[in-house]
Symmetry: C2
Subunit: 118 residues, 2 copies
């Protein structure tokens, strides 16, 4: 075993992927990507992932915004309108996630044993 590999291998996973590698973040990114460049409102995003609580969706969006993957635009209207879309950085991420999505489709039954959440 080589020593001191931990820091090297931990780097991108700990510092970058860990910021958007959770289920809800990926669903938000994928939802925004599908409609890109059309921005989505909070309620439209929520329709795409109804089993995510509004609180969790709100936290997820804040985290993605903080990590520069999603941008939020608020319009001075009554009632206030808030729209979300991918940043340039967020758009650049999606081709890197695509092979993982494809693998997941290809090996769906092998991983899940057919126990599927619909």
């Amino acid at each position: 075993m080589k020593e001191l590999t931990a820091e090297y291998m931990a780097c991108p996973i700990r510092n970058v992927i860990d910021r958007f590698g959770d289920k809800w973040s990926l669903l938000v990114l994928y939802g925004l990507w599908r409609f890109n460049p059309q921005p989505l409102r909070f309620s439209e995003l929520h329709k795409l992932m109804t089993d995510c609580s509004q609180k969790m969706l709100s936290q997820t969006l804040k985290s993605l915004e903080k990590n520069h993957l999603v941008s939020r635009k608020q319009y001075a209207e009554i009632p206030p309108r808030v729209e979300y879309c991918l940043t340039e950085l967020g758009r650049s991420l999606m081709p890197a996630i695509a092979p993982l999505l494809q693998w997941s489709l290809d090996h769906f039954s092998e991983v899940t044993d057919g126990k599927v959440i619909v």
Copy 2:
């Protein structure tokens, strides 16, 4: 907005990626991949990710084994020797994760704002 896209888009992310998309699972998979086909013992894996508690590492390995990504082999020795390696399914996953790792290296500073965990 199209209706009923939730089930379609949720499928691979909810059912497959969610099973190994967390930081610790990715670190285990990546660690085993780096040493593949040499199997690693629990203590060797733990050396690669010392800030993961033994309990969390044990849970992560059980989950990856259950999802057919990691195999566990126990030798009838005293003290008992247990080794882990990637399954064929686990090995097939790694090329799909590689573009994500590369993206994370390429965009490290943009996502992290330089706030890095070493």
